[in-house]
């Protein structure tokens, strides 16, 4: 079917026979090599589009051979085979440019699928428009050209073409979902779906169904077949955000999914193959989670193939002002305002602020300024007070979600959904004011007195979320409730106010 043949470099003869038989049955032509030297010769002779190779060869290192292949022909897709227990080698190979790795033992279907995916990826890459921009240019919707971000962009560009799992880390609000989208859009799967799932947002008992789907009648409430996120992402990318929040039982199933590339919806009798690239993210330290026994070690090594760490905004230097000004222009246009820029004082405040809520906090601040004020320049008076009151701005109450001027505190008939500014002020105002705990605590309570319990609850929840940089799971932890409780309540508030539910932490720009 395909020409040139698939090159198999494997020195164990019975295994190479198995791989050959499997691929020939799927109508692929195959060329065999049993050593480093044979692999070199065969590569030069047949110029394969896909190479299937073991990393341990009798006369040399498979890693070196792969590097040679990729140097001669960077478009070659190399599928690395390794044994369970040697995954770290495979991970290293992925970082060095392998397209995918298969852990022995794998069945014939998995092998055929991997080869088919590699060929498709190569074809798709050949049809991608040539990239005129340098590899360190901002991909997707990223803004900023700081050194820290140029490293991130280069990593995104280089990893996009492979099937490697990308593990994105970074504080809340640094743009982890944006990074995942950029990887997807720069990849040969760009035309496929991008499905994002927040593992911390879904109750553990529903998570399996959300990821793998279910069949009608498989449990109480399963009134119709449901396609899970993994099936919805078939041919594209599945982004699992807050992966460290995933239930341990589901982690086992996710591992199985990664090993076999099959899904079995809840209640289904047969598994189904899917072709999905996995990207995941967390704002925690995954190794801490692993050491604490909350995250499976084998799953960690499966997922942690190509790490990308997004730096906090405070480490991005001039990016802060670039993001602020570009966003100001965008929001001003959206809101029909005449803002043209930041005045010098605001530029200095922005540059010195620690931005604990990162880019999301900056964007929320700009949005608030634009909505509540008129241009042409953003001045200090338009900013939330604690953005400039505390040197360095690291007050602990500084979320930037709302300005904190008394004149801007929402009062009156708007209702609680529009009164979060007041709540935030009431709950966290003492930190900014520097008053003693008892006095400021009393003031905070005074500010809430007269409101209904439901209003106060909403204020407290929204304020806590804001103080957690927009992270619902972190807020839930502080409030000692399940994240799902908060999501449910927010949905209710959104419906009550006839506004769409606010997007959670993953929506950072």
């Amino acid at each position: 079917m395909s020409s040139p043949p698939i090159l198999i470099v494997e020195d164990t003869q019975s295994l190479s026979l198995f791989y050959t038989a499997t691929l020939r049955k799927a109508h692929y032509e195959v060329e065999l090599a049993q050593s480093y030297a044979e692999g070199q010769a065969a590569f030069g002779r047949i110029a394969p589009r896909v190479v299937l190779m073991d990393l341990k060869l009798p006369d040399g290192s498979g890693m070196d051979l792969m590097a040679e292949f990729l140097l001669k022909c960077p478009e070659t897709r190399v599928i690395v085979i390794t044994a369970d227990g040697s995954i770290s080698n495979a991970v290293e190979a992925m970082r060095a440019g392998a397209h995918e790795f298969l852990v022995k033992p794998f069945d014939d279907r998995r092998l055929v699928q991997a080869v088919s995916n590699a060929l498709c990826a190569r074809e798709a890459a050949a049809h991608l428009p040539a990239r005129d921009l340098p590899a360190t240019a901002p991909p997707g919707a990223f803004i900023g050209t700081s050194e820290a971000m140029r490293t991130v962009y280069a990593r995104i560009h280089s990893v996009a073409r492979s099937m490697a799992t990308v593990f994105i880390t970074g504080e809340s609000g640094t743009g982890k979902e944006l990074c995942a989208q950029a990887v997807h859009r720069s990849s040969p799967r760009a035309k496929g779906p991008f499905i994002a799932l927040n593992c911390g947002a879904i109750p553990s008992d529903l998570m399996e169904s959300e990821v793998f789907g279910h069949v009608k009648g498989s449990f109480t409430g399963a009134i119709a077949d449901k396609q899970g996120a993994a099936a919805a992402a078939d041919g594209g990318t599945l982004f699992l955000d807050e992966i460290c929040e995933m239930d341990m039982a589901l982690q086992t199933k996710l591992l199985r999914f990664l090993q076999t590339a099959t899904i079995q919806p809840v209640g289904a009798t047969r598994p189904r193959k899917v072709d999905v690239r996995i990207l995941c993210a967390t704002n925690r330290d995954p190794q801490d989670a692993m050491r604490a026994g909350r995250f499976r070690e084998d799953l960690y090594y499966r997922l942690h193939v190509v790490p990308i760490h997004l730096p906090p905004l405070r480490d991005r230097g001039a990016d802060i002002l670039e993001i602020a000004e570009k966003t100001l222009a965008t929001y001003a246009m959206e809101e029909g305002k005449t803002f043209t820029g930041l005045d010098e004082e605001v530029r200095a405040i922005f540059a010195q602020h620690s931005w604990p809520g990162n880019v999301r906090q900056l964007l929320n601040t700009i949005r608030n300024v634009v909505v509540l004020n008129e241009g042409p320049l953003v001045t200090r008076a338009m900013l939330p007070t604690d953005l400039y009151r505390a040197p360095g701005g690291n007050t602990g109450s500084d979320t930037g979600t709302t300005p904190r001027h008394d004149s801007q505190r929402a009062t009156g008939p708007q209702g609680p959904a529009r009164d979060v500014a007041g709540a935030d002020h009431a709950v966290s105002g003492h930190a900014a004011s520097g008053q003693s705990g008892a006095t400021s605590g009393q003031q905070a309570i005074d500010a809430l007195t007269g409101r209904s319990l439901a209003e106060v609850e909403q204020m407290l929840i929204e304020s806590t979320i804001a103080r957690c940089g927009g992270s619902v799971p972190r807020a839930a932890h502080i409030l000692d409730v399940a994240p799902s409780t908060i999501y449910r309540k927010r949905d209710t508030w959104a419906h009550r106010n006839d506004t769409p539910p606010r997007k959670d932490v993953t929506a950072a720009k």
């Binding site: 164990t12 295994l15 038989a21 044994a83 227990g85 040697s86 033992p105 014939d108």
Partner: protein
């Protein structure tokens, strides 16, 4: 699906009989050969045999016996010499090979030995090594029988 075992342990009337019905668990073979069900996932192995096809089966099985025998020999040497690096290299191959043909118990033993070798736990290496070699020997005898059906006649 045609069972590979039915090919080489076919009934006298020509009707296919499964391995578990006849061959290795039969009175004469029981002493010589281990029980298949303890060694491999028969369904998986039969699927592989079906995929390889009747013409390639004998070659594949002979190849398996050769590879496994080579591995047994070199693994034995590595364990005796407390050569953790070599043991690791050989168990790497054994994990893949055993797993591919559905020899789950051997794969698990090889994996444990591989991890021990990686950690260079000499004592564990020896005891696990002996266990793995014994299982490897059972599997080799099993595949030898599978490759030479006439010995059952």
């Amino acid at each position: 699906m045609t069972s590979v075992f039915s090919i080489w342990t076919g009934g006298r009337d020509g009707s296919p009989r499964s391995h578990l019905e006849t061959g290795l668990s039969g009175p004469s073979a029981a002493l010589a050969r281990p029980d298949a069900a303890e060694l491999i996932e028969t369904q998986k192995f039969n699927e592989i045999m079906d995929m390889i096809g009747p013409r390639g089966r004998k070659e594949f099985l002979n190849c398996l016996v050769r590879d496994l025998s080579d591995l047994a020999e070199s693994l034995d040497r590595a364990i005796t010499a407390h050569d953790a690096d070599e043991a690791q290299r050989k168990t790497h191959i054994l994990i893949g090979l055993a797993g591919t043909v559905g020899a789950g118990p051997l794969r698990d033993m090889a994996l444990a030995l591989h991890r021990n070798a990686a950690a260079e736990v000499a004592r564990g290496l020896t005891s696990r090594g002996a266990q793995t070699l014994a299982e490897l020997d059972r599997l080799i005898r099993f595949f030898k029988g599978a490759a030479e059906p006439e010995r059952l006649a």
